[in-house]
Symmetry: C2
Subunit: 244 residues, 2 copies
DNA sequence: CGCATTCATTGATTTGGGTCAAAAAAACGG
DNA sequence: CCGTTTTTTTGACCCAAATCAATGAATGCG
């Protein structure tokens, strides 16, 4: 069933256009490359659109590609045989996807919103990376940051209560979405979640019902407002931080 | 209070002796270095003993060093203000510790057993790494593996029940401790945990009582035996795998 | 060796969050 | 615009694991 979502539709494939105009160029792994290097990298990759809900790679399967997110949000998920799912990572513009120097993907990578990517065949990318230390350096730096973030999330998953999880989540989202420019809303106190309630539950290791109840509780207590189901307005950041 | 554990006791500092005799040399980040490179790395680091319970760096504090574990087991922990603690990583011989190109440590690093380390001042290590792509490459590879492992652990923390957590833990330990040669016991079905019950609880996001109850349950059901409080014998790996 | 301390087990009780079920509200499609 | 589908909210109930409280076993030390 998941197989149906495979992306081998050539109509989605677009020639890689000028990196120099790329909005996330200075934050992505290609940031430290010079013009000629960028050109070489250009030749091995291409831009690709991927629509909301579609997956780019699957847990346990061969991953023959790596990618950079240009625009949109993706999720990394691990799941159990019975369908329980945990979102183990979120991928924002300028973030890197995939496992260089590995064969199988440890997680499923799925678009949460329509997403624009720079895609590279893994083997070609591996070769390029091995011979371009500055790129590997950037990749290492990003990976180390991701690892720290993942470990911070482990504390939340293992030790925080539902209300603490929700509060931490809202605060992190308000920062992340602001910093990454995923929305046009200037005020970081108001932001649009790219996730539905079930996805929030899958991020926090909760059920959808618990997420919903916590949201309405915070709303009733006046710490947040929820104008529509995707928008969150933080009314009392202080109080929220105390809960986190 | 934690400050008392700081390692500035010069008696613990030993000159780095010959890497060529190092037991973990071929698995650690120094694996791909040639003799002269190894010699240069040698000059910036030194070996150090650290005893069980002592910490090498603290969450949120400046980390002016990075290290390689030669022998022993260490833990990475994150904690909340009220003392709740989560073990977010385990560090075995040949594993790397610390955050190159970063300033503050995101976790506390503490010895679980008496540990032997190769310690490097961070700034000197950073410089060395930047000019030695093969070392950075190795470091990247290790970091990517750690990230995959951390994310797999997030699934356990967020979605597994206590009995599933315990079963997964025992199976992983039997593999990890065998593969890393942390014990002399040849049979991977019998191994000695380097952790007490509280630490197992901190790894799994449970309480010590729940861990204890699950252990005794598995013993009563004949899936494992517990000859003494640190030793685990897996009697029915199949059944344990079904629980995991 | 015996006392003290730490660590682990076991039992009784509580509770946070899960499950099950239904209603309400949005979003979608013709 | 209306019926269908999906998503979210709300309520009633339950249970796994936490908490609280002892007891029992190891370990360490004078």
């Amino acid at each position: 069933m998941l197989q149906l979502h495979r992306l081998n539709n050539p109509s989605n494939v677009i020639d890689m256009n000028q990196c120099s105009a790329c909005l996330i160029r200075n934050r992505a792994i290609c940031a430290d490359l010079d013009a000629s290097e960028l050109d070489a990298l250009n030749k091995i990759g291409h831009q690709q659109q991927i629509e909301r809900g579609r997956s780019l790679m699957w847990e346990g399967e061969d991953a023959h590609l790596v990618a950079n997110v240009i625009d949109g949000v993706m999720k990394l998920t691990s799941s159990l045989e019975d369908g329980r799912e945990q979102i183990v990572g979120l991928v924002y513009p300028s973030d890197f996807i995939g496992r260089p120097y590995g064969t199988t993907s440890a997680q499923t990578v799925t678009a949460i919103t329509d997403t624009k990517l720079c895609v590279f065949p893994r083997s070609a990318f591996d070769d390029f990376a091995k011979s371009h230390p500055r790129l590997e350096h950037k990749l290492l730096d990003k990976t180390l940051s991701e690892l720290d973030r993942a470990r911070q999330w482990m504390l939340l998953l293992g030790r925080k209560s539902a209300s603490e999880k929700i509060a931490s989540f809202l605060l992190e989202m308000s920062e992340r979405l602001a910093e990454k420019g995923c929305t046009d809303i200037p005020a970081r106190s108001s932001f649009e979640l790219p996730f539905g309630r079930q996805q929030v539950a899958d991020i926090l290791g909760l059920t959808i019902e618990t997420v919903s109840r916590q949201f309405t509780r915070l709303k009733k207590q006046g710490l947040i407002d929820l104008p529509d189901r995707r928008t969150v307005v933080i009314l009392d950041r202080e109080a929220l931080a105390v809960e986190a």
